[in-house]
Chain length 362, copies 2
């Protein structure tokens, strides 16, 4: 019975305990477990038996300190509650698991301080990549901060991945996985316009949010393409939530009640808008058509089912992880330069039952 390790030992067993008990050296135990070195069958059996008896697992911290270790990807998100997030996270997590990677999650709550703290924390953890989710705010200072993060992570052998936001300007070591935001909005607006709608209430989201800007821009372009004058007075900005959709429509019904369709920046906003219309006695889609954006499950669960733009969130998550994994297993080539650093996935309109041609108003 050893002195420093009593019988009723608490805490985890170390590789030394295993070696001692099996009567072999630590090196041999390590070799049996990692399996990257020839070991006799007898030794393997003896070691494995002790491993089972002691319920031993290797210490991940020690392992990564010594060079090996499981690669880890960190997912940073404003609000873990968003449905879109869940799908991206699923994609990232799934792809990570597939490769034996681990995933960490942190929430920033829209707080730049917290975001900074989290990126540093992840840097401490030595994560292989930090995935930043969701639309970005279009401030100059924001761009600078992200660029700093990117360089800082890059210097530490990690990598920054931006998902669902536009790429950083300049020569910044970061990967962007994006979707055709503007194109989706263009197609969605076109769908309404070709159904005959001319007075459309537009709820793109927060004016400073890049996703909102893209969606608004796409809609605008569609109006131009159809030769329909775009009325800025029909645009109402606000957060991507149910309440905003509800209130925006409520207000619009008082101020500019002659709209025949609502172009919502998000399915959730569309749900709020739908509820407001119904409360006001307007039928959907008979009196007013509604379209959303994102194609989260909610879209097909509303009544009527929502016509919306499908965004491949889960796929984006998978692509994001694949990008960093590839870079890491790295063929070594093309580390910088515009080719693999900006991936754009397609969007498309999903037609359901929330759009009808407008009632004749003459």
């Amino acid at each position: 019975m050893s002195q420093r390790k009593a019988a009723g030992d608490v805490g985890r067993a170390t590789i030394r305990d295993v070696a001692e008990r099996a009567g072999v050296s630590v090196a041999s135990v390590s070799r049996v477990l990692s399996g990257n070195y020839p070991v006799s069958e007898d030794l393997r059996r003896r070691v494995m038996k002790v491993v089972r008896d002691l319920d031993y697992v290797t210490n991940a911290h020690a392992r990564s300190l010594a060079g090996g270790g499981t690669p880890t990807v960190a997912i940073l998100i404003n609000n873990i509650t968003g449905a879109a997030f869940a799908h991206v996270a699923k994609g990232v997590e799934g792809a990570a698991t597939l490769r034996g990677w681990l995933s960490l999650v942190g929430t920033t709550g829209d707080d730049p301080e917290r975001e900074l703290a989290l990126v540093n924390l992840m840097r401490q953890q030595g994560v292989a990549a930090v995935v930043l989710l969701g639309g970005a705010y279009d401030y100059d200072e924001y761009q600078l901060r992200m660029a700093r993060f990117a360089r800082s992570l890059d210097a530490a052998g990690s990598h920054l991945v931006l998902v669902g936001r536009p790429p950083l300007e300049g020569d910044v070591p970061a990967t962007t996985v994006d979707y055709d935001n503007e194109g989706g909005a263009y197609a969605m607006a076109s769908h309404l316009l070709s159904a005959g709608h001319r007075k459309v209430l537009v709820l793109p989201g927060h004016a400073e949010l890049t996703t909102a800007q893209g969606r608004l821009k796409g809609a605008r372009r569609a109006f131009e393409a159809y030769g329909v004058p775009f009325d800025p007075g029909m645009v109402r900005h606000g957060p991507y939530d149910y309440e905003h959709g509800y209130e925006a429509v409520e207000t619009a019904l008082e101020e500019t009640p002659d709209f025949t369709a609502v172009l919502a920046g998000t399915d959730v906003v569309a749900a709020g808008a739908m509820q407001a219309l119904r409360t006001a006695g307007r039928r959907v889609p008979e009196d007013v058509s509604i379209v959303g954006y994102d194609d989260i499950p909610l879209a097909s669960q509303l009544t009527p089912q929502l016509t919306t733009v499908h965004v491949p969130y889960e796929e984006m998550g998978r692509v994001a992880l694949r990008a960093v994994a590839d870079r890491r297993e790295g063929t070594g080539g093309r580390r910088k330069g515009g080719d693999g650093d900006h991936l754009v996935l397609g969007t498309h309109v999903v037609v359901r039952n929330s759009v009808r041609p407008p009632l004749r108003q003459d």
Copy 2:
């Protein structure tokens, strides 16, 4: 210029680099950073300047090897996409962040193998606690496996927390954070019964799922309390998803169309049921009342807004983390025994607009 560290050094800076550049010892740098030892103002300034210049962060792996380190909590979930999960995770993550803890996330995808692998992975990571989310399957073998996990984690200085599932039997070192599942179902069913409903379609969930069992049992008790015979033929089991709600109602409308209310095991199931009723030309709540369970945001976004049972998911997450944090900072007392090991949070009915008295049928 040092030999082993060239000017354009790649990889992260070590504490030695900082010490060298600041012209002090490693120990001093460590003291400045951890702040648990008196240090002169001059030294602190010199060190901090170098830390900023080098953009140095301590290596979390080395730190935890040496004893310190950030406590980490692991959240294990079947499907990251569920709305209920998101809220528990938010609670856990929020409370973790508050204490400077880190949170890991893993998904099991209902695969026992994967669950086992994940628990071991977490054990390797030396997590302070593993939080297992969601209803459990009521198999004996399952109980055994959980008990093993609990003991294994406990032996490694970690701790198992079960959230939203019944506690393990026997003397197992695990904490359970639960909600009054059966009570909520009782209250919800009572609500329907007191409105006058007698023929109620019950969609409790999968028969083997503990949450479904509790919800069914609560409903049953309510029927007994009201002296209304409970018809087992009106119960349809199935997964907690939209499709099941839809299909169950579709089938019921053919086989036993005289029900006046639907008691759904979940808000999402209720949404599916609602859609099926509407498709079949039944109005909600005029012709058929519907109630759900969980009170996720969807409940108040449906039309009509759903009367449901509120489950304090986020609070459960917070409580779960607090439980392990307390145990860890531990007053040392009462490690075992029934007092702090099983926490039950209350549920309550949220009345909205999806219930009306049944139409007179005579």
